[in-house]
Subunit: 363 residues, 2 copies
């Protein structure tokens, strides 16, 4: 096989800083494990807008379609708050998701042993937490038409459309069941079937798909109860399957339970390409964090672990992924902390690049 | 003024049990404080379906329109899970909200001192918590058209519509600002203006309304970040203003933070009637809890505190409301607990009716 290709889109805010550390990790795997990548880099979000007047250049989009995987930092920042909706930094990310058809967004919410004290939840509620949220990413209210702000009588009305076809629900449900097979064989599907017809269809299709996975236990929960249960007893869940908008909120809620947002990666996967690899984009769950940009305070681990997910899901290198995750755990066990993970007495923070170096040393 | 009227709709599951205790409280205020109500009772939800084949009879709806306030227990249960969408118990509640035009849903998320240990969150994160969530209740994706499951090519598609007019946003925003004036003068408005045009309009209108309230500080937050911040540091909020669907999820998340779901009331308010009182429906946040129905285990406090909200918002009896809330606090301080509030060692639970009696004694 030819050298796998990786497109790096550092984006805005702390994106470029954390990506510097990821490149150290990529280089390490090339040098020490003979896992070489053809790496190219380009702009997305506000950075792309500044250069081209659009949050994603067509040429960048074309490149993203060709590579084996995309690794993204973060997009957005107050500088771009007043831009027109159509050119906001977020639109670049949303276009990548949509045009690459990355329908399954995998968001692990994992509580790292060394950091369990750091959660706002009681330690026994979150210690050992390991949930996988599978969020539908290319449909629903994020993309449904009609949408916009329209005149109606003598006032305006804002409209968005929640819209799911059976096949859109089915394919993401399959992703969730496949993942559950390699985990604890439980899928909890969340919607508002008591209020929304799209939720009724969601429930019906996931139930149908579940008959192909007799060893996986499927349950259904209303999304509002889901939010409650996540706060009350998150360890009851294994895989959570939900739509684009509920997934946005519930996955952020779950991420915060772990107390270590700066630690959480994500993968967005589409259909297999000709070479058998899925279309894929990897990105940390945290945002661009404009308040700490350029100060060497950012935690690069979420982005490093996003690369670990790439090793696992795009490059069939599960062992190397586990090695990288192990290195991160070792660093944490050593008490090495970036500023976002402080709280223990007597620990002073390391910088973004010191954290990257520590991971390399642990590798 | 003539005797104020109250329509009681106990509904399903534990609704009837907790309502028995509320009636004791209502009777107490009639006897001891000369606050008399003309009370009538009727069916809603599954109970109404069983009797009439519809989750809300037209006559009940007409009565609800005439009374000064409605007090509702809970609706729904597994027995009704397979009913057609149009006659599900929830439709009865949704019709009440819609036809009475109860656009402002007030959901206090309060952490009771005596129960702070009971939260899954660390005590210092939630002790003293006192948030008011104002959720828009009669519009958005709950009611927008088109909606339904439609044929499209050779498959089906589930559609719902998020829809907000300027005036719908404006009136609920005013409710939030008015409340903030009597609290800590902060409103945080939550939407997804980075992804949804309806959120852009929401942000624009709330900003415009805020100019009428120069003493209230308005901030905006994306709803996903809102969920995170609620988990991370809920005490940063005073009033949270949000739409119907986000409000459903975020208010349940906030409710669970307090650790005492069985304690939380809500008020749903509409425009003033001819007598100056707002159209109003009061109900506990908890559901019908079929798993404990009929066992004397239900906690009646949420429903009792819903009546306290009625005293405050419908009957201008703020002092009496405070007296009732004080009685509840006293009961809790005495260590009296229903089964849902257990956890402390050496405490055994009281029954639903014992809890009601304890509140009466404390009054
Ligand atoms: C940046 C934004 C458009 C995005 C979303 O809403 O999907 C983010 O919140 C996420 O969850 O990845
Ligand atoms: C019962 C259901 C229709 C309702 C809702 O979704 O609004 C409930 O969850 C609530 O929050 O009052």
């Amino acid at each position: 096989m030819s050298t796998p290709s990786l497109l790096i889109l550092p984006g805005d805010g702390i994106g470029p800083e954390v990506m510097v550390e990821v490149r150290k990790v990529i280089d390490w795997f090339g040098a020490k494990r003979d896992l070489k990548f053809e790496v190219s880099e380009d702009l997305v979000g506000g950075a792309a807008y500044d250069a081209h007047g659009a949050p994603l250049h067509d040429e960048t989009m074309a490149k993203a379609q060709e590579v084996d995987a995309v690794l993204l930092g973060a997009v957005g920042g107050p500088k771009y708050d007043d831009l027109d909706f159509s050119v906001k930094p977020e639109r670049g990310l949303l276009r990548l998701r949509k045009d690459m058809d990355l329908y399954a967004n995998l968001r692990p919410a994992q509580c790292f042993d060394a950091l369990a004290d750091f959660s706002s939840l009681k330690k026994d509620v979150v210690a050992g937490l390991d949930i996988m949220i599978v969020r539908e990413l290319t449909s629903g209210v994020y993309f449904g038409e009609p949408r916009g702000i329209f005149e109606e009588g003598n006032e305006r009305v804002g409209i968005n459309t929640q819209r799911y076809t059976e096949s859109e629900i089915e394919r993401v449900a399959r992703s969730a069941f496949e993942l559950a097979m390699r985990r604890n064989r439980k899928v909890c599907s969340m919607e508002k079937a008591n209020v929304m017809e799209s939720g009724i269809l969601w429930r019906e299709v996931t139930t149908r798909v579940s008959s192909d996975y007799p060893n996986v236990e499927l349950s259904h929960m209303y999304a509002d109860n889901g939010a409650m249960q996540l706060v009350r007893a998150p360890k009851q869940f294994d895989v959570i399957l939900t739509d684009n908008l509920f997934g946005d909120i519930l996955s952020d809620c779950a991420a915060m339970l772990t107390g270590s947002l700066g630690m959480l990666p994500s993968a967005s996967l589409g259909a297999p390409m000709a070479n058998g690899r899925p279309k894929a984009l990897y990105e940390p769950v945290h945002g661009s964090a404009p308040d700490i940009t350029g100060q060497g305070k950012a935690n690069p681990i979420a982005c490093i672990l996003s690369f670990a997910m790439a090793l696992r899901y795009s490059f069939d290198a599960g062992e190397d992924a586990a090695r990288l995750e192990g290195a991160v755990n070792a660093v944490l066990a050593d008490g090495i902390r970036t500023a976002d993970l402080l709280g223990e007495e007597g620990v002073s923070p390391v910088s973004t690049s010191e954290m990257g170096d520590a991971v390399i040393t642990a590798l």
